[in-house]
């Protein structure tokens, strides 16, 4: 589909960064406030869909390809399950723990000074071990997946208009 009027484009320019930041906020605070990877990802993807409607699918498809999105989606999924696998490998890192699949290996330890605090300030982002990282992985997957679906559907309507 083609783009819309100048007014819509201007409003989109203003609204898009706000939507993006709100979505990233929901993803980053998934372990503290309601929401998480999926919800925040859906917010960001809806912002991208707004961009698609305002500027038209031809403009967007010139900027980003569906194949790149599918690679991004795979990377998100691999990141999620890779973090789960790292839980098993914990035994090689610490040598005193028995690792487990989906183990929260970053919390309650001093070897890796990353996301390991607890109690210092429960509202801080670094207090939940791997959970924020997993939220980012899920968020990436949802952004890429939903945007790819919307993009392909918009592109398909363009083909129908052409007929």
């Amino acid at each position: 589909m083609s783009g819309m009027s100048r007014i819509v484009k201007t409003i989109t320019n203003v609204a898009f960064p706000i939507v993006l930041i709100y979505g990233l906020y929901v993803i980053a605070h998934g372990h503290l406030t309601p929401g998480g990877g999926f919800q925040g990802g859906a917010v960001v993807a809806s912002g991208l869909a707004m961009l698609l409607v305002a500027y038209g699918s031809i403009w967007v498809i010139g900027k980003v390809k569906e194949k790149q999105l599918s690679i991004l989606e795979s990377i998100g999924a691999i990141g999620f399950i890779g973090l789960a696998f790292l839980g098993i490998l914990m035994v090689f890192i610490y040598s005193s723990f028995q690792g487990n699949f989906f183990n929260n290996f970053l919390i309650n330890q001093n070897e890796i000074p990353l996301f390991n605090e607890i109690g210092a300030g429960l509202a801080n982002i670094n207090t939940a071990g791997v959970i924020p990282l997993m939220n980012f992985a899920v968020g990436l997957k949802v952004i890429a997946g939903l945007f790819a679906i919307v993009l392909v559907m918009a592109y398909a309507t363009r083909i129908k208009e052409g007929k």
Partner: protein, 534 residues
């Protein structure tokens, strides 16, 4: 601690996680090279199979051993009897089903190499295929009710997309839609039942639930909803209408895994009846008017009735069907009927004091038949896929004289035919004989109907054999060649296992079926093992 011990320790998680990781890596690998992707997918499946075999060896080493695996930590947190964390509990029955799933997964992925070669979008095909395999393993291995529902949904969504994979044929999309409607309804039924149980007992773990269950009125409702929801997924007769479409329209390699998913749903029903409710079924009387009957008797008779209906309708519909794959699908419906006939017959007797031997026997036959049915029906579907691959024809009226060009496929079909109709040298005979003998003890009419329908099944497939393979050479099939080697290899693997089980049935029964039956009937062992592990 060496690496093998480590792998065995983590195996329940790895069996699900490795196909999942492979599924998400497949789109990236297929960017490099198509052949590399096929090799990668086969490697993933073989690696998973090796882990399943290691775990099986570990389980069978000690009688009645249950391998418990806790996700995300060393021990589940229990607060006031509220068990947090997901547990995978692998006992004899779980590992038995996992072995079936392994055979089907290996054969399916090897078969796909040549069978799907001419299609586009194969990276998505293999991703969904591995997701479906991961979901099937998850359904089989999990010990958590909600986790079971999650894996049920994963398999539903992946298989819906795969059933409709040949989107250029409109009927495939129709079949996929029908499948997703039925399986989503079934899954919601299961979710509702889980919610009822969770609301009462604050637990989702199967062993914890089994130890706490009171068999109140709500529990009875939950049992009925669970069985009907899983029966929808397993294709038992009043809910079988999705099965011929889905089996018939999907690519043959997908149908093979679908058979496994159906068996996994059946396993779910078995687990719910025998482990979750097993302790209470016998001690509860059911008041019908002035008479009070044991509840296991009511449930058993009801299931036997469903089973007879399933066998009858499956066989009769197969007799009149002209489409090759739909005919095999109806035969598969009938075969599921045999399993639940044995399970129903077992339910009526296995808990009683004086007749428990018959029940154990029937259960043995039923569980053994799950393995045999998966192999027989799977082999027949692979042969049907091979014929479609070679001739692009599924209607039996158009086929003929194929034995002259496709001699290996003909032999494989003959093996599948004899096995599925329960003829002596094949595996179907071994399990069906146990079912006939045990149901005869319960009621002679049951075994008479079962034998009769088995003969009708033979008639169905002799007709197919005659019209597709025998007869004069048709001119339009002059340049039909034997199918590629990878498809022959996949069929050969299953055929070899069929003949092996047919020749040494007692070995298979003693080593892998008996532990599964013991695990089913001995639910106090399950509870104490798992809760002791907590």
């Amino acid at each position: 601690m060496n690496i093998i011990d480590d792998i065995i320790l983590h195996s329940p998680a790895l069996i699900v996680a490795i196909p999942l990781l492979g599924a998400f890596l497949t789109p990236l690998v297929s960017k490099i090279n198509d052949k590399l992707r096929n090799i990668f997918v086969i490697f993933i499946v073989l690696f998973t199979s090796a882990i399943v075999l290691l775990l099986a060896n570990d389980i069978y080493l000690v009688c009645g051993k249950i391998h418990t695996y806790v996700f995300g930590g060393n021990a589940p947190i229990t607060e006031g009897g509220f068990a947090i964390r997901i547990l995978f509990e692998v006992d004899g029955l779980n590992i038995f089903m996992a072995l079936i799933a392994t055979i089907l997964a290996i054969a399916g992925v090897i078969y796909s190499w040549a069978f799907m070669k001419e299609n586009t979008g194969l990276d998505k095909y293999y991703t969904l295929y591995l997701l479906m395999i991961a979901g099937m393993y998850g359904m089989i291995l999990t010990g958590d009710m909600f986790n079971f529902f999650v894996f049920l949904e994963i398999t539903s969504i992946a298989s819906c997309a795969l059933i409709a994979f040949w989107t250029n044929k409109g009927k495939a999309i129709d079949a996929g839609f029908k499948y997703i409607v039925v399986s989503a309804t079934g899954a919601l039924f299961v979710l509702f039942a889980i919610a009822i149980l969770y609301g009462q007992y604050n637990a989702l773990n199967m062993a914890v639930l089994a130890s706490k269950i009171q068999f109140s009125f709500l529990d009875k409702i939950a049992l009925v909803i669970l069985i009907s929801g899983l029966a929808m997924k397993a294709g038992i007769v009043p809910m079988h209408m999705w099965l011929p479409d889905a089996y018939g329209r999907a690519p043959a390699s997908v149908t093979l895994i679908l058979v496994g998913v159906t068996q996994a749903s059946l396993y779910g029903a078995l687990r719910m009846i025998f482990t979750l409710y097993g302790g209470k079924l016998t001690t509860t009387m059911n008041q019908i008017g002035d008479v009070s009957i044991d509840l296991n008797l009511v449930l058993g008779i009801f299931i036997v009735g469903l089973a007879l209906l399933t066998i009858f309708i499956g066989v009769l519909m197969a007799l009149k069907e002209n489409n090759f794959k739909r005919m095999i699908a109806f035969a598969a419906v009938a075969e599921i009927g045999y399993m639940i006939l044995a399970i129903g017959a077992a339910l009526t007797t296995v808990f009683s004091t004086n007749d428990a031997g018959t029940g154990m026997m029937a259960l043995k036959g039923g569980v053994f038949h799950i393995l045999n049915d998966a192999l027989d029906v799977g082999l027949l579907f692979l042969v049907a896929g091979a014929i479609y691959y070679a001739t692009k024809e599924t209607s039996l009226n158009q086929l003929g004289g194929l034995a002259r060009n496709m001699k290996y496929t003909t032999i494989f079909f003959l093996i599948g035919l004899l096995a599925v109709s329960g003829m002596p040298p094949m595996n179907g005979f071994a399990s069906k004989l146990i079912i006939y003998e045990s149901t005869y003890q319960v009621n002679p009419i049951l075994s008479i109907i079962a034998i009769l329908c088995s003969i009708l099944l033979l008639a169905v497939f002799v007709k197919v054999f005659h019209s597709a393979f025998l007869g004069p050479k048709l001119p339009k099939f002059d340049n039909v060649k034997e199918v590629p080697k990878s498809m022959l290899l996949a069929m050969g693997i299953i055929a070899t296992i069929i003949i092996f089980i047919g020749l040494f049935p007692d070995m298979v029964v003693n080593y892998i079926v008996q532990p599964a039956v013991n695990a089913l009937t001995n639910n106090s062992n399950y509870i104490s093992n798992v809760i002791g592990g907590i």
